[in-house]
């Protein structure tokens, strides 16, 4: 490590963390983080972040890195490092938990699932998982993480929506036309993009999906002559599983471009345009995407969108 925090400042940081932790009761959060509900959080390279302890009563403490946080709901996206031999006995949480293994592997219940396996547990749904050799798991919590040990699910849980383990190879690879309609423009026939739909909430349209994009072409999205900038009526979230990508964000303070390497992460609130002339991948890109309720994409010729420049926040 090149930069070292002086012991004194570390103490300060720790006490700040402690105070915040106490203020939120059982919850933990990282005080310096942005509120993703209104601000773009992006170009995050997790290897530049510190590991911090995540302690939930009843489960062995693990390390985590916080990628984004929603002030109002307490929803957050975290990267969790499970040490070899770690396990969570059957139990449930007060928030929805969605997760994917980005390194190593886990067993869900007794079933070994391997790298890139996926699961979704609605609040109150009892589940267990463990790792033999260790794993790094990307977790999306819809609220503050907690844990209640229990063999059975809590009454009233939406058990039907649970996905209790999905192998990467179980998910068919399709063309983008297979996704629910998300824009007015027709999907390019014979598209070079390949998608895997991990989860679709039929009632809200929220979905979690993986898209593989070849690089090295001028219009790297392979979507023909669509305008350079696009925005969504829902929030969008991305985690780069492999490859590279450079793109620009059209933020209230102006255009900002940056590059993503594997594990690169962004959370883009609704209404913020992205793309731009710099949109490019030199190799290829495999994105893990989450798009919120009402995912609907519109295209724009320029970055100067009224919604982005006047209020500084989303209008849709």
């Amino acid at each position: 490590m090149i930069t070292r925090i002086r012991p004194g400042s570390r103490l300060l940081l720790c006490s700040a963390l402690l105070i915040t932790t106490m203020a939120f009761g059982q919850d933990f959060r990282i005080p310096e983080s942005r509120d993703r509900a209104t601000e773009f959080v992006g170009f995050v390279q997790p290897d530049r972040l510190y590991w911090r302890p995540l302690t939930l009563s009843g489960v062995q403490t693990v390390d985590f890195k916080q990628l984004s946080f929603d002030d109002k709901t307490g929803a957050r996206t975290i990267l969790v490092k499970l040490p070899p031999g770690w396990k969570q006995a059957p139990g449930f949480h007060s928030a929805d938990l969605e997760m994917i293994v980005v390194e190593g592997g886990i067993s869900i219940g007794d079933k070994p699932m391997g790298r890139y396996s996926y699961a979704y547990y609605p609040a109150g749904y009892a589940h267990s998982y463990s790792t033999e050799n260790g794993a790094t798991v990307l977790q999306w919590w819809s609220g503050a993480p907690d844990y209640v040990e229990s063999e059975t699910s809590r009454a009233g849980t939406k058990a039907g929506s649970a996905i209790d383990g999905l192998l990467y190879t179980d998910v068919p690879t399709k063309d983008p036309g297979s996704l629910p309609k998300f824009r007015d423009e027709p999907i390019m026939e014979n598209s070079p993009l390949h998608v895997k739909l991990l989860r679709l909430d039929e009632s809200t349209g929220q979905k979690t999906w993986i898209v593989t994009i070849p690089g090295g072409t001028r219009e790297m999205t392979g979507e023909g002559n669509l305008p350079l900038w696009s925005s969504s009526a829902s929030w969008q979230e991305g985690f780069l599983l492999a490859g590279d990508m450079t793109m620009a964000e059209c933020l209230p303070q102006g255009q900002a471009a940056g590059s993503y390497a594997p594990d690169g992460y962004f959370f883009r609130p609704a209404g913020i345009s992205h793309g731009g002339l710099s949109l490019y991948s030199a190799t290829f890109a495999v994105w893990l995407y989450r798009t919120g309720p009402g995912h609907w994409v519109t295209y724009h010729n320029s970055c100067a969108e009224p919604s982005a420049t006047t209020s500084g926040g989303p209008t849709r």
Partner: protein, 381 residues
């Protein structure tokens, strides 16, 4: 790392895609259908036009081939080349050509088809239709007899195919009978999208190879010969543990396949051109099942009818308690390739190397064409 290199990516992808449920809607990239007899008569002759000695000629990296002066009747001096392969009967060559800065030649034509792919630098071709300015990853095809001038400002490195003994005839007009309609002008990789199917022709029933993207650079209007690109990528997910119906299937084409790997994540530093014995995956050649080193900036020429791919069903690889392969699932990989095929492209599948098909050079200008009636791949057996 084993030496399967490039073959592994598509095979891994095939494994990834093979356990797919039937499509509920839209396009889905499924397993191959096994009734793969070509829907066209396989020509009785013509292969030898592009033939190379041996069933498999592999160069792990072009840097292992020494530069030499590129000379031929009438060819302006100053060019260097790495000769990758040469047809013993026709004199056709595949080569890396070095064009020095400021080099030029006056108007004239070659008596053979000339295909150029610019790897580095610039090249301007001037034919009757005007200047064609080629830059990195530009492709140009000039049929035999096409009059053109040529110059390079900052120098260039080309991948070049000449379909016959290289020569040059000074002239300010096309040779009589030139197939001017077959000309392909400045096709650039950075400008072209990738796709799976049309306009890339179907080369098997049940959809083209799952996971492979294509870009067609040239399809000869007379012979069906093609020059094209593929793009493939993968992430290190553990393979499906269910028995796949692709296992035990090796692919056979009625055409030779010639590959060059301009870019990708697999680079080969070892000059290991000899085949290695292989049990499950590789090429069916004289020595039995063999596999070769191949990587970025590598080249190979595989004779028509040589089965390649999975020649036997491998036992499931051991897994750790988390469901990953012991020793890891590998790394994310990507790459694109340049491919040339003669005649129409078609893929059929065989179960192992016990078949006789294709074309083989017997020496002294003699070629042997095997019967194409190969045993069909049947996943139920």
């Amino acid at each position: 790392m084993n030496s399967l290199g490039w073959i592994r990516v598509p095979v891994a992808l095939a494994v990834v895609f093979m356990c797919v449920t039937p499509p509920a809607y839209s396009q889905e990239f499924g397993p191959p259908t096994v009734d793969q007899a070509p829907p066209f008569p396989v020509p009785e002759e013509g292969y030898e036009v592009e033939g190379r000695p041996g069933l498999m000629l592999s160069i792990p990296n072009i840097k292992f081939v020494a530069w030499e002066s590129f000379d031929g009747p009438g060819i302006p001096a100053g060019l260097q080349r790495r000769l990758l392969s040469e047809s013993p009967t026709m004199g056709a060559v595949s080569q890396i050509t070095y064009v020095p800065a400021g080099w030029s030649h006056p108007a004239g034509y070659h008596d053979v088809d000339n295909e150029i792919f610019v790897l580095e630098g610039d090249l301007t071709i001037s034919d009757g239709a005007g200047d064609e300015k080629l830059t990195k990853y530009s492709y140009s095809y000039m049929p035999a007899g096409q009059m053109h001038g040529m110059k390079s400002r900052q120098g260039a490195v080309l991948l070049q195919w000449l379909k016959g003994k290289p020569d040059f005839v000074a002239s300010n007009r096309d040779k009589k009978g030139t197939r001017a309609y077959a000309r392909v002008r400045d096709w650039n990789r950075f400008q072209k999208p990738w796709y799976v199917n049309e306009p890339f022709p179907d080369y098997r029933t049940g959809g083209n190879f799952p996971g492979y993207l294509h870009a067609l650079m040239r399809q000869d209007p007379d012979t069906g010969e093609m020059t094209w690109m593929t793009f493939v990528s993968s992430i290190p997910a553990p393979p499906s543990s269910e028995a796949g119906n692709f296992g035990g299937g090796a692919e056979v084409h009625p055409s030779f396949e010639e590959y060059f790997f301009p870019e990708g994540s697999r680079y080969t530093e070892v000059d290991d051109r000899e085949p290695h014995k292989s049990q499950y995956r590789g090429e069916c050649v004289e020595q039995g099942v063999s596999t070769y080193k191949r990587g970025t900036r590598g080249y190979f020429w595989r004779a028509a009818g040589v089965a390649h791919g999975t020649v036997a069903q491998a036992p499931p690889r051991p897994r750790d308690g988390d469901g990953n392969l012991v020793g890891g699932n590998g790394e994310a990989g990507w790459g694109w390739t340049l491919v040339r095929t003669g005649t129409q492209l078609w893929a059929t599948y065989v179960t192992d190397c016990t078949y006789e098909t294709g074309i083989e050079y017997m020496g002294e200008g003699r070629w042997r064409k095997y019967d194409y009636d190969v045993p069909r791949y049947d996943p139920q057996k």
